[in-house]
Amino acid sequence: MDEDYSSGSQDAEREMARLWRTWRTVFEMLQDRGYEVTEEEVQIPFEQFKTKYSDGLGYPDRNKMKVSARPTEAMKAKYTPVKSKSNPNPQPECGTVYVEFCPDPTAVGTKQVRTFNHFVDEQNFHTGIFITQTPISPSAVRLLSGIPDRICEHFQEQDLLVNITRHELVPKHVLLSAEEKVRLLERYRLKESQLPRIQVSDPVARYLGLRRGQVVKIIRRSETAGRYASYRWVI
């Protein structure tokens, strides 16, 4: 703690702290989705984050904040579709993820999104996560989701300040693998359309990067039954 606390450095400190929380949530998110991240990366202390990602004036330098992570074997197994006659050797439908923080403090439009899309496409990342400080324009959203064969997601920094899945009122969401899903439907003799549903735009679904057609198991505490599991179809 410095003695002469000018308002500028205070501002910088505050912004740095906010960004640090977002940064940690991003890593927790990657970990929860099943990407390879180390415990040290997730638990990065504030001081270390500050020395690593701040510019000369103490303000965060978002240009440095780029992460890519590979999926773990467990995640690959989860994302592999079931074997079928037409597809005897299925490939996992997941790949390297790339996270970028947009340095623009003002409104973000199609220009920034286009460069991001281009980068993701060029580097052959499977998934891209674009994090901005302000909301992005509707046409930019459409552009972001428009690239074929790649998944691009968008979050605002303030959405990731706290990890919503750590809140006590948010039940645990577990994604089912394709095989588990088939077994579930068989066990209950259901069609997937007979399951309750969850929207792709649901905050937890966005956090977990769920895709349409997947089934998620939701485990909540129940006063009468101890634990209660329900299943929802992502739509």
Binding site: V82, S84, S86, T106, A107, V108, G109, T110, K111, S137, P138, S139, A140, R142, L143, G146, A178, K181, V182, L185, E186, R189, K191, E192, S193, R212, G213, I235
Partner: protein, 346 residues
């Protein structure tokens, strides 16, 4: 193994057994592969022959259901295509006008043509997106204006705008408007607000995939007519009444100039050629059938007109003398004002 298969149907093929129309809106991409999987008849036939115990689960789809599913899939695809088109148009219009020194009051004919063509499928919300996108790029919201949008220095969220003198209520005082700052910062000047909003109100409200094909509302977008400028400055579009009122050399030169402009304007909006070839297309337009998504699953009607000889002019039916006073109503001849004197009273 195959005998136990039915419950193990891979999850995607669920559309096969449930009503397709229910699932059609969920996504076109999931429908298309599952439908195409059903189409090869060879695999279906093999599966049908095997089990007698499972009569309906593997049967080939009801062609009616298939047609409905395909119809919806085509509709959704058309909608997606339209959205993609609008997005690309927005990206295109963000870069307008072509030259940085263009004057929004007298845009170049090429720019006007691009704007008109691009705005045809727009809804007003798409137009708002365009304005937003231009502002993010730092430009004025009006598509033909090359200037930057204005920035307010002060921190207040609202600003008071005063109108011209004696514009207030009752013709006295000044009109006062309280405008949110972000609205004000969309534009470079008040005249650009007028121009942009003049275009905006002409856009159709319903999305392009729900419009009838002959809907000409959004196709003929006109730009705001510019007020007569001060001497020496050039403006293209003028009100026609101005030329009528004014006399002398000035008006002739100006009318020539305006004539050029109208000629170029008509050149930009070329009317579709009307010919025999086009008659089917016109028919489709009239019915709102031009969308390719609706073509499938409909009967293709070929209309051939019978030749009618125009030699014998058909004479109009001449009413007999008994109809002189309006005739009878269902056999009853009214005895009104005119009938007592006429032949109505027997």
């Amino acid at each position: 193994m195959d005998r136990e298969a039915p419950p193990k149907v891979p999850p995607k093929s669920i559309l096969r057994t449930s009503t397709p129309s229910l699932h059609a809106p969920s996504s076109a991409s999931t429908i298309a592969p599952s439908l195409s999987r059903q189409q090869p008849p060879s695999s279906n036939l093999q599966q049908q022959e095997q089990p007698q115990s499972q009569p309906h689960s593997k049967a080939s789809p009801d062609p009616h259901h298939l047609a409905i599913a395909l119809h919806h899939a085509h509709r959704i695809q058309a909608q997606k295509d339209a959205e993609a088109l609008i997005l690309s148009r927005i990206l295109e219009l963000v870069t307008l006008p072509s030259s940085p020194s263009a004057d929004p009051a007298s845009p170049s004919a090429a720019d006007v043509a691009t704007l008109r063509a691009a705005l045809a499928p727009f809804q007003s919300s798409d137009y708002d997106n365009l304005i937003l996108e231009r502002n993010i790029e730092g430009r004025c919201g009006y598509a033909l204006c090359p200037r930057e949008h204005r920035r307010e220095d002060h921190k207040g969220n609202f600003r008071i705008l005063w109108g011209p003198k004696s514009s207030g209520s009752g013709g006295r005082g000044r009109e006062m408007k309280i405008v949110p700052r972000e609205k004000l910062e969309m534009w470079c000047s008040d005249s650009c607000v007028k121009r942009a909003m003049y275009v905006r109100v002409q856009l159709a409200e319903d999305p392009v995939w729900e419009r009838r094909a002959d809907d000409r509302r959004a196709k003929e977008i006109t730009l705001l007519e510019e007020p007569r400028p001060l001497k020496g400055t050039n403006t293209t579009t003028r009100k026609m009444d101005d030329q009528v009122v004014k006399g002398g050399e000035d008006s002739t030169s100006r009318s020539e100039y305006a004539g050029d402009q109208t000629a170029s304007a008509t050149a930009t909006t070329t009317l579709p050629l009307r010919g025999i070839k086009m008659s089917f297309k016109d028919l489709a337009l009239e019915r709102g059938d031009s969308n390719s998504a609706f073509r499938d699953g409909r009967v293709d009607v070929q209309v051939t007109e019978r030749e009618i000889s125009h030699d014998a002019a058909v004479a109009p039916p001449m009413p007999g003398p008994e109809y002189r006073h309006g005739g009878s109503i269902e056999g009853y001849t009214p005895k009104g004002q005119s009938s007592p004197r006429g032949d109505g009273s027997d």
